[in-house]
């Protein structure tokens, strides 16, 4: 069993958008999570795979990784 989350940085620190068990989650639920991921990416979010210290940016949703969504960044 592997529990995975999709989190997002926000005013409250971070917020969990979805949490699932990779072995038991249904395709329908996965599709919903992936749709939310894609929607955030279209808004300009960056996504990172933070599973076990990997800490790399990703472009596509992966059900097997811990995902952290980063709101759009800009120069200050």
């Amino acid at each position: 069993m592997a529990l995975r989350k999709m989190r997002m940085l926000c005013a409250g620190g971070d917020k969990t958008l979805a949490e699932w068990d990779t072995q038991t989650i249904s395709q329908e639920q996965l599709d919903r999570i992936e749709a939310e991921f894609n929607s955030k990416m279209r808004e300009g979010f960056l996504a990172a795979d933070v599973t076990d210290g990997r800490n790399v940016l990703i472009k596509k949703f992966n059900r097997n990784v811990e995902t952290l969504l980063i709101p759009r960044v800009q120069g200050g």
């Binding site: 005013a11 620190g13 800490n55 709101p71 960044v73 800009q74 120069g75």
Partner: protein, 144 residues
């Protein structure tokens, strides 16, 4: 409100009361979860950590702009912000993840400001020129 004492909260080593439900606390916890061990230790001690990239070494700080070090010299400051209001620790997370993954993207997104170094400005150059003129005049007067 849940409050507890956290002894490693400040670089001064003094214990502080931390609101464990606060956005800042949550963001700090997440940053500690993400950082590699060495960077996490440095961050807990100094509220800042270094990241060694291919182009430079970066010192990512909570309360000031990121420092860019090249060949042992502070050469620039980088300013990057999230487009939402969020704790500074979240900005540090974003900077670290972007640098760790795509350093060029960081340079494209951040505002990079060259650090003020020992380079002479116009006023200093004018003063040096003026002093040289005085010196030449003094030597010339002595010779005549």
């Amino acid at each position: 409100m849940q409050r507890s004492r956290l002894s490693t909260a400040s670089s001064s080593g003094q214990a502080e009361f931390i609101d464990r439900t606060s956005a800042s606390f949550k963001a700090r916890e997440l940053l500690c979860e993400i950082l590699p061990a060495a960077a996490r230790e440095e961050f807990l001690a100094h509220d800042a950590f270094h990241f060694k990239g291919e182009r430079a070494i970066y010192r990512i700080c909570r309360s000031s702009q990121t420092e860019i070090w090249l060949n042992g010299r502070l050469t620039a400051h980088a300013c990057m912000q999230l487009t939402i209001p969020a704790p500074s620790y979240d900005r540090m997370i974003a900077e670290y993840l972007i640098l760790n993954s795509d350093e060029n993207l960081y340079w494209n997104k951040a505002n990079i400001l060259r650090a003020k170094g020992p380079v002479l400005g116009l006023s200093e150059l004018l003063l040096i020129a003026f002093n040289l003129v005085l010196l030449v005049k003094l030597v010339f007067d002595c010779l005549i």
